[in-house]
């Protein structure tokens, strides 16, 4: 920073604003984007405050799509921001208090495996009770639902980043007497940044998946809908309007690509500077949008005159309040923490008892339905994984071994993967019905649509990380064909394959709720399965069945994770780790 710059910062903000037309032109995109954002928020607020009575009619004309896209994006954005706050707070507490950690981390692990869509009825009922007269209630409900789909992996990422801050860096912060605040902002959040960016991408991709379900659903006898891309696509598929489905899909892909280019690419490029490695990488991700933002004088002026000084004041405040007194904790805090803990435990106990009572009221036939459903869905999920592996392993290895092909195909595959499977269901169903297949087999295809990508990407990553000297060794010793697969490729990709399976398996269980029970052209298609039980219970407002089925699903996911995946994971990270 030069001397004049620093003096400029003491003047009013517009003193630092650009004056020439050329620099104004450079700032134009930033200013326009700001205005668009403001308009979106205002129109959304206007709509939110509208009374709940009149159900919006979803307009299937393509011209309505921009508005719907804006609504959906705003919903996702708000849910994401909320997730961010929750993830940082939860992760921070879990990482800093050993006592809280012992409760919070297993809880996180369990919450992660509860299918998100099971949260739908209780969340919606609660929100509608909070705001009975305004659209805001359902709107908040849908945002909370999207949040429950996003927040867990982000929280986990924050937690493990904070836990894994290198010891000497943590000690440096200690010995130079950073306040808690400075430690958070200058050490912990920066170390968490990269993990958070990647997990945010995953979370938001997942949000599109759930958007389909939570923008339009039936709750008991009420048919609720929120204007957005999800409800547009559902309405279109209910009407069997192929043209509208195509338009809706196109709009969704455009939005997803735009978000990728305007938010995630810049975020990844920006995250580069938070890498912990001490050596400069040869190739670093770049983003034109990020450069534009960095060069924008409006943003720079804003940063210099408002954000930086504010941050400075806050940090100084914390530093001084710490420097004044000895760093002892007030005794009251301990008591409040204890009271909160006791309350939480009581609440939890109450919930468990309540749950037991509710599930006990299930009839035998309902129980049996849940259990057979669980068996069917289990088989379906495993069949899906097997099928996915059958095509993704050879293709993934073939792509991963050819770096140029991988560089070319990766972005295309990423776009394909980011289109939520739920949006593609209607199209697939059209084919299925024409081919005369039922949903029993069809749902496997639907699950495959949603989960194969996790495996494919991991296999590609694994194959491209096989060291060149091992490949050369195979070549020199004439190892080829099946033997090369057995000795090199399969062991080489094994850890990645397991990672892919774990993610895919969780995703498949969750997706079964939408895949096994589907409303299409005014009729309901369904098959035997746990997902179908949950969906039907939601539709009928059958709370005991919903709770029982959800518990069974969560239990199965957790058990399977513990018994199978975790062991394979340990095996992968010990025996099959490629290292020197």
């Amino acid at each position: 920073m030069t001397e004049t710059d620093r003096q400029g910062s003491r003047l009013l903000p517009w003193g630092a604003l650009p004056t020439s037309a050329a620099s104004l032109l450079r700032d134009l995109p930033v200013i326009l984007a700001g205005m668009a954002l403001l308009y979106g928020l205002l129109s959304l607020a206007h709509y939110w405050a509208s009374p709940v009575g009149e159900q919006p009619v979803i307009d299937l004309r393509p011209s309505a799509l921009p508005k719907y896209a804006l609504f959906s994006v705003t919903r996702i954005a708000l849910a994401y921001l909320l997730s961010l706050v929750v993830a940082v707070a939860y992760g921070y507490v879990a990482a800093h208090s050993t006592r809280a950690e012992r409760v919070l981390i297993p809880l996180l692990d369990t919450l992660q495996s509860i299918p998100v869509l099971s949260f739908l009825p209780p969340v919606m009922v609660a929100m509608m009770a909070l705001f009975p007269t305004r659209q805001l209630g359902i709107e908040l409900g849908s945002i909370l639902l999207i949040l429950t789909g996003q927040v867990w992996n982000m929280t986990f990422s924050v937690y493990s980043s904070i836990k894994n801050v290198p010891r000497e860096m943590r000690e440096a912060a200690g010995i130079y007497r950073f306040s808690r605040w400075q430690e958070l902002t200058q050490l912990e959040l920066p170390s968490a940044a990269i993990g958070l960016v990647w997990n945010s991408m995953m979370s938001v991709a997942g949000a599109w998946f759930f958007l389909m379900a939570c923008e339009m659903f039936a709750l008991g006898n009420r048919d609720l809908r929120l204007p957005g891309l999800g409800s547009y696509l559902q309405t279109a598929s209910n009407a069997g309007d192929t043209r509208a489905i195509a338009w809706g899909l196109a709009a969704m892909i455009v939005v997803i690509v735009l978000i990728d280019q305007l938010i995630w690419r810049p975020a990844i490029a920006w995250g580069e500077k938070f890498k912990l490695e001490q050596v400069e990488a040869v190739q670093t991700p770049r983003s034109a949008v990020l450069n534009l933002l960095r060069r924008s004088r409006v943003l720079n002026a804003l940063e210099r005159t408002a954000i930086d000084p504010a941050g400075e004041r806050v940090t100084l405040y914390f530093a001084r309040s710490r420097a004044d007194g000895p760093p002892t904790r007030p005794k009251g805090a301990n008591w409040t923490a204890r009271a909160v803990a006791v309350a939480a435990v009581l609440l939890l106990a109450f919930a468990v008892v309540k749950m037991a009572l509710v599930t006990a009221s299930l009839s035998r036939s309902a129980m049996l339905g849940i259990l057979t459903g669980a068996g069917a869905t289990f088989l379906r999920v495993e069949a899906t994984l097997l099928l996915a592996a059958l095509w993704t392993v050879p293709v993934g290895v073939a792509v991963g071994l050819r770096p140029r092909l991988a560089a070319f195909l990766q972005p295309l595959a990423q776009i394909a993967a980011s289109v939520p499977a739920t949006a593609l269901f209607p199209i697939l169903l059209l084919f299925l019905i024409r081919a005369g297949g039922g949903l029993g087999i069809g749902s496997i295809l639907l699950l495959l649509l949603g989960t194969q990508w996790y495996i494919l990407f991991n296999v590609i990553a694994g194959a491209s990380s096989i060291p060149a000297d091992l490949k050369e060794a195979c070549h020199v010793f004439g190892i080829s064909g099946a033997q090369r697969w057995r000795k090199l490729f399969l062991p080489g990709i094994f850890p990645y394959l397991i990672t892919g399976f774990v993610t895919a398996s969780g995703g498949a269980w969750n997706a079964s709720i939408v895949a096994e029970y589907f409303k299409f052209r005014g009729q309901t298609l369904s098959t035997v399965g746990l997902g179908a039980v949950i969906s039907r219970a939601t539709d009928n407002g059958d709370f005991p069945a919903l709770l029982g089925a959800t518990l069974v699903m969560a239990a199965m996911v957790v058990t399977f994770n513990r018994l199978v995946w975790r062991r394979l994971y340990v095996l992968a990270s010990t025996r099959f780790r490629l290292e020197v």
Binding site: P166, E168, M169, E171, A172, G174, I175, Y176, R177, F178, S179, Q182, Q186, L187, P190, A193, K273, F274, K275, L276, E277, Q278, V279, E280, E312, T315, L316, A319, R320, A323, P326, P327, R575
Partner: protein
Amino acid sequence: MNQTMAERLHTAMAAARPDQATSVLQSLDPDDAAELFQSLPFEQQQSLFGEMPAGYAAVLAGIMPYYHTYVLLHSRPVEDLTAIVGEMNPDERRFFLDALPEEAWQHLMDELSGQHPVAEPEEAFVAVEPQGPPIIEARQVEKHFQRPDGGEIQVIAPTDLTISEGLVVAMLGPSGSGKSTLLRILTGLAQPSHGEVLWHGSPLNGLNPNVAIVFQSFALFPWLTVIENVEAALLARGMEQAERHSRALRTLASVGLKGFENAYPKELSGGMKQRVGFARALAVEPEILFMDEPFSALDVLTAETLRGELMELWLEKKMPTKSIFIVTHNIEEAVLLADRVIVLGRNPARIRADFKVPLGQPRDRNAAEFLVYVDYIYKLMTDPEREAGPLVATAPKPAVQALPHARPGGIAGLLELVADRGGKEDLYHVAEDLQMEVDDLLPIAEGARLLDFVKLQKGDLEITPAGQKFAEGDIGERKLLFRDAVLAHVPLLQQMHGALLKKSDRKMPLEFFRDIIDEHFSRDDAHSQIETALDWGRYGGLFDYDSERDNLIAQAEETPQA
């Protein structure tokens, strides 16, 4: 009585009456006199030693530690030196001369025979600053770690340690000896399990208020620029932006980082990164500058440059620091930098020696006086039983034999080298030849000694007949010799071998032995113990290890191949 004698000695010294001081000493028992004499500030010792009659100087010279005697002798002219050595008690003289490392011995011999061009060493000496009041005082601090099964492992034995103004203190010790833990206790980053740390006389509550640490890994924040890294430490003290900025700029300039203010750490070389580490530490104007192996992540040349620059800042009082405390495993580095050296032993950590290095700065690595100290520390570190220097703490002995973390291949290499040199070599020469840090070399030497392939005496490695045979043998013979040596000298491996032979299926889970070892070592140490035991046992063909089933399998006795 000693109290009054000490007073009388001090009075005599204050009055500049060396004759009186000498007679005070002469009135005492020689051992007490030597102790009293060494309690004087070094420059007073020097002047008094220079003035006293050769006969009495010879008495003291025979009693004091040899390195101390060696340095004091050189504060007198060569003809006095000859006279004093001549008048020493023959046994003590032989002992003294034997103890000297080769270079120092040669140097002394040349001087005594008058061949050596007489270089008056007086100018090389700079008076050591008198010790100021203590800044940090550790009283009986100890550290235990909880084992998973509930037991405790002592990593630091009760230790007293004082850091006073005006000195550079180096703490040396083998790796894993708890040096870093002790440093963290002194700074307040870690809490002692027992005992207390005093800061200017009052107990330390939480972090030490005014210290800084330079870390081995630099511990810079990669997302902050060089100047932001320095400013972060000042911001934490609540300093306003303008003042922070100018102080950071000043400090960066003083360590030669002008022009790099806005670089990110990853754009800098290792040496430049550590300069940032220094700048960040100096910017907060610490009373004591702590350094945790600050040069070990750097290459040799860079480390040398940085050491020189650090000493320049310190000696020319360009840093506001009252004392420097450096933890290192590099013996030469310690002797190069420190006014006072503390040597730690391990299992648990305890102070084995604590002595002054009264050499002037800058020090010459090849000077005989320098080598005397290097050699002395080598002897101390290679010989766990050796009686340590003047200020020894009584030390508990380790309960269980600890295997040094040495690979059989390393031991073989060392034996070949020593055999090549005619079967006997100074350890620090070996270190020099192999370009190895003492930290890497010591476990290997210790391993060879444990297996009775070499004898370690006074810092010399001497190969034994078994070692000689090993060095000359081919692979098959070496394995057999190794097997015999292991079974003869390593109880843990005897135990493992015996247990395996008693089983009918000749198999046993490693877990069983791991449990035994866990009782005596901390987790990391236990891990390296197991690793070494496996390595040695497999090399000696005692057993094989199936890592998948975590099983040890006894190997059939092999007959030597012709």
